[in-house]
Symmetry: C2
């Protein structure tokens, strides 16, 4: 067991300016593990209600995902409803129902404890910390968060950051947490709080990696039809960490390539609603888009 992904597994209702989908499968753990599954065989940690489709759990298994850590609990699965504006970076949360996720305090399956790479997807930072403490000695810990926790639990978040190697967040969250208005200054400030790498996700503008001794920028795939932006960030993390788990190496070059694979996976997931695109995606398509990204920035 190498990569373990902790996150939410959910039903999402999504509205874009062009269409609406009710109660489709989503969640940070879902997107991240599916994206990672194109590179490695991740284990997942999370909880779903008895209403969660067996079909999806079977899809996880078909894709080589270890579902031992996915608890199925009597009750309803976590639910989230959101609406996107014309700018896909503009998202309004309409409704959140925690349901079975409310008292989620997982006990890690014994075979997960030796994980080499741990991803703490966006959930309550105290829950993230409780889970992290159950791992023996991961050589890379990555985490994600959202503005909700920066507002409500900044102290927990900053304490957790000290134990983390890679911090994923979007540009607004980086500025908010560091209380800096300049993005680069903000990222550098957070670098001093523990992580050795800050991954700033900028949606349609790509991502910026700030390390202690390197900076790397990857642009987003110039996409002329974004069907559903949901899960782009989690798929980025999944491609990023899945690739690192595959190559079993953590050099600067690996981080750069990981970021491009992250961007590639994000570029695919937004081509259809929910996780639909991952059902047809092939490793050949991933390879081709990686090469396309190379051409896109070559000079």
């Amino acid at each position: 067991m190498k990569l373990v992904i902790v996150g939410s597994f959910a039903f999402d209702t999504i509205e874009t300016p062009f269409a609406r989908r009710e109660r489709i499968v989503g969640g940070s753990g879902t997107y991240c593990s599916l994206a990672a599954s194109f590179f490695t065989t991740p284990g997942i940690v999370g909880v779903v209600g008895s209403d969660f489709p067996e079909e999806t759990v079977n899809f996880f298994k078909e894709r080589g995902i270890d579902t031992t850590g996915l608890e199925i609990k009597e009750g309803k699965t976590f639910f989230w409803e959101a609406r996107y504006g014309n700018d896909p970076n503009e998202r309004t949360t309409i409704r959140t129902e925690l349901n079975v996720f409310k008292d989620f305090k997982p006990v890690l399956p014994p075979e997960y404890r030796k994980a080499g790479i741990v991803f703490l997807g966006n959930i309550d930072p105290d829950q993230q910390d409780g889970i992290l403490n159950q791992f023996e000695a991961p050589h890379l810990v990555a985490m994600d968060t959202i503005n909700l926790w920066i507002r409500e639990k900044p102290r927990s978040l900053l304490e957790l950051l000290e134990k983390v190697d890679v911090f994923f967040a979007n540009d607004e969250e980086i500025k908010m947490l560091s209380q800096e208005t300049n993005l680069v200054k903000a990222g550098k400030k957070l670098l001093q709080r523990g992580p050795s790498l800050i991954v700033i996700k900028k949606g349609e503008h790509g991502a910026l990696l700030l390390g202690k001794d390197f900076t790397f920028g990857v642009i987003a795939h110039p996409c002329d039809e974004v069907v559903d932006p949901t899960g782009a960030g989690d798929s980025f993390a999944g491609g990023f960490l899945g690739y690192l788990d595959k190559v079993k190496s953590l050099t600067t070059r690996d981080f750069r390539r990981a970021a491009v694979y992250g961007s590639v996976m994000a570029s695919f997931v937004i081509e259809d609603f929910g996780i639909e695109r991952f059902k047809t995606l092939t490793t050949q398509e991933i390879k081709e888009r990686f090469i396309y990204f190379k051409k896109l920035v070559s000079f």
Copy 2:
């Protein structure tokens, strides 16, 4: 005479969240020609009042800029006042005084008419058209504009686009003019209106080049202190066109490298107020930052 730059030469009052500067020299023609002067010897076309500093005109000449086309007219120089928010892409125009620029109808100096590359900086599209018609047979015509003209003279603008090879605009302007919400779709739509290349300037997020048969993305220099964002777009255009004029070649590879030089010049100008940074900048610094940009996106 190879590159001719048409634009405004102005006094700007600039307020950022950190400082304020009153009546410093600015204008699209100023920024663009100074940036281009690090690659070639551009000629300028514009008008200033009798209050415009001789010192600045001398600086233009020192930098090898041909000022034959800069008319000095009795009266006051064009004046612009703006305020930036915490996000440097967020700019509010406080005041605009056209002054001598109001009835600007230049007659091109005879030696300018054979220009190979023409840049029509942001001014009234009817004025741009009037000037363009005086050139004999430029092999590359580039233009820039702002939202004001898209709102007030969309028809003139679209007609002018038919005569233009390279269209520079920021992301909002591209969407506004094409009436599309997706940036890539918007750019592709404008590609069908005449230009063979759309250069979408995205401020701190870099630039995207959409050609008929290639796409290229360049990220912005990750700068942890933007002193004054004014002139970044015009300096981008200056570096871009100055480089093309220097290499005297218009292949896809040239356009890619030109965009990086554009980004390099934009990254320098924002390091200080107005044109200050161009007074100390060296070609060695430009070379080094070009190499830095290469490392920044290599994987």
